[in-house]
Amino acid sequence: MGNGFVSRGFQRRRRPPDELADRLPPGQYVEPGFPVLTAGPTPHIDADAWGFRIDGMVGQEREWTWDEFQALPFETVPCDIHCVTKWSKLSTNFGGVSVDTLLEGVEPRGDFAVQYSYGGYTTNVPLADITGGKAWVVTEHEGEPLPRTHGGPARMLVPHLYFWKSAKWVAGLRIMDDDEPGFWEQRGYHNYGDPWKEQRYWGD
């Protein structure tokens, strides 16, 4: 906004319910479905073959198999998610394990983390953005196993950032002392990705 430009003849056609309006970041619209957006073919990762690691600049590396992961404290996470391609999905529920739980005993020695995935995807986040009850490794959506196209068997969930910051098919977290841009961050998307500041692309 601000430059005063008006699109001739344009009128709003969609209006989110008033009680939801303040939950919609600028430039977003409410999407009732759950669109799939992926840069490549959907990988097949069997739960039996899935594992999750925390490595990098840590005092103690950790690793879990699927079965070990299932034994960790499980939380249901009600949240809103915001995709950089302009849709937001409000009041949705994921289930999984808090990153705080996963980091117990790890002793991170860097201020940044890279989420890395089966298939090669990466995305970077400050450690402070995935600790303190802000991020989870989730295996369920709306009480069902997470579908493969949405990152099943497990994906990251960092709902306060644009959703490319929540890696699908997540395999681990690498703690870093430098902030290293991930897959989309190297290819045009913003390094931090705050939807409320509309940090979509480089330079925003």
Binding site: S7, Y29, K86
Partner: protein, 243 residues
Amino acid sequence: MGGLAPPPPVEQRAPGRWQVGTVTRIKRETPRVKSFRIDLPIWIPHLPGQHYDVRLTAEDGYQAQRSYSIASSPLDEGGIELTIDLLEDGEVSPHFHDVVVEGDRVEVRGPLTSYFVWHGESPALLLGGGSGVVPLMAMLRHRRRTMPELPMRLVYSVRAGEAVIYADELGDDAILTFTREPPSGWSGHTGRIDAALVAEAGVEPGIAFVCGSNGFVEAASQLALEAGFDPEQVRTERFGPTG
């Protein structure tokens, strides 16, 4: 390829800021698809496959944004062509279809992101479903003008004869298949894209670009993998809901 020079590299850079372009040409492609040529005061050469964001602003300040793939070759200097599929319950595409006329000004920003982009790699297999053909057309058009001998083939899956976008431009480098209602007298392929059709494209494993609905992309990218393409060389773009 006989010493053909690669296209001039286009440096990766931050996208331009919002700017107000002018619609200079509108072409109806199908009953529900139109192409819009937009001349830009600040034109930045794009890579085939990139997109622009479009922002509409109402009198009361309300704004709606969507992303649309660029259909034109970066050799078309000074502007871009966006091809827009009408989604009846959308907010931006109905405005473009029902309100925008030649001479109107529109606010845009780009070119954006750089993964689903063609840098001149070959051989190149393009698999498009419906309006997923749009970014692939930018690649085909650019190849025709820069490196016409370079192996690139489009396999284009369309619902019905009337729904073929760029119908007058599809040549030997494109294979069409109709999933529902082929045009009368059609003797070519029908049905969903399958391994035989991918084989007929005759593109050795190289790079593949796959664009369409989620269902199309899931199936077609799997076919590319089965044809021997490396997963990292299969680049996909799926329609989000883009109203």
